[in-house]
């Protein structure tokens, strides 16, 4: 069973020439003047500890927590599966990243949303995402 090291939302990510990860524009809330609004182009980046070659089956779901009247049909769900393809050479190789695009998801109203991460259909982590109206 892979272990989630961390998960966060950011505008973009890049791998530099040395193969190192840069996370750009990490955010933990969304503000908007009008509703419905959409999640800006961005990613949920996760880091996992997994055995070399271990297959990781991931699912993501964005849903409204509050208010409960929000249209929960307007959620994004997706499933991805990938293998930790790195060979077991050193401790470096046990980690793997995953980048899930979340831009464009419709947020019908202000409130508290939850971005949920599932492994093999088991909820393992929730990123709370407040969506706040701008005055």
């Amino acid at each position: 069973m892979p272990t989630l090291e961390w998960a966060l939302l950011c505008d973009s990510h890049e791998i530099d020439a040395a193969g190192k990860l840069n996370l750009l524009g990490e955010y933990s809330r969304i503000s908007s003047l009008t509703f419905p609004t959409v999640v800006p182009p961005s990613f949920c980046v996760t880091k996992w500890t997994a055995r070399p070659g271990e297959n990781i089956s991931l699912s993501f779901r964005l849903r409204a927590l509050l208010p409960t009247t929000a249209n929960v049909d307007d959620v994004v769900t997706n499933t991805d599966s990938f293998a930790n393809s790195k060979a077991l050479v050193s401790v470096f190789e046990n980690f793997t990243y995953h980048y899930f695009p979340i831009g464009g998801a419709v947020l019908p109203s202000p409130g508290e949303y939850a971005f949920e991460i599932f492994v093999n259909n088991t909820l393992i982590h929730t990123i709370f995402l407040p969506v706040i109206p701008l005055d």
């Binding site: 090291e5 190192k20 750009l24 524009g25 407040p130």
Partner: protein, 135 residues
């Protein structure tokens, strides 16, 4: 009591005009061809969920494989990202400068909030073989 959402290590931590964080060169291990190994600068960046108007002292202790403290960083977490229906989030960051790793081994970074233990980051420091240029 603050709840840790995520913590990671990176070589640089930037904050833009919108108070969003960029995490440059995330890493989970250090390697060097010779010891002692000097690392000029790295950051421990963390995200916390806190109650309204709660501030706290974020502390990161760097401990060598023998259990001795190598570094001690403190910061008051005050950069709050805003109110949501379930509270605030805030970022706390500590910079370690001119850290000397005298020997290979697994170092630890103990994360505390108000002197209450919250998390341990294990940091392998590895003697790099001559034919392996990865860092």
């Amino acid at each position: 009591m603050p709840a840790l959402e995520w913590v990671l290590l990176c070589e640089n931590h930037l904050v833009d005009n919108h108070q969003r964080d960029s995490l440059i060169v995330e890493f989970d291990a250090i390697s060097g061809k010779t010891f002692p190994l000097m690392m000029s600068r790295f950051f421990v960046v963390s995200r916390w969920r806190v109650d309204v108007d709660e501030s706290f002292v974020f502390r990161a202790l760097l401990v060598n494989p023998g259990g001795n403290m190598l570094g001690d960083g403190k910061a008051v977490a005050t950069r709050v990202h805003g109110l949501s229906p379930i509270g605030f989030t805030c970022t706390a960051s500590i910079c370690f400068n001119a850290t000397q790793f005298n020997e290979p081994g697994t170092y630890r970074i103990e994360i505390c909030a108000n002197d209450v233990f919250a998390h341990t980051i294990f940091l392998p420091v590895i003697l790099e073989s001559k034919d392996n240029a990865d860092s």
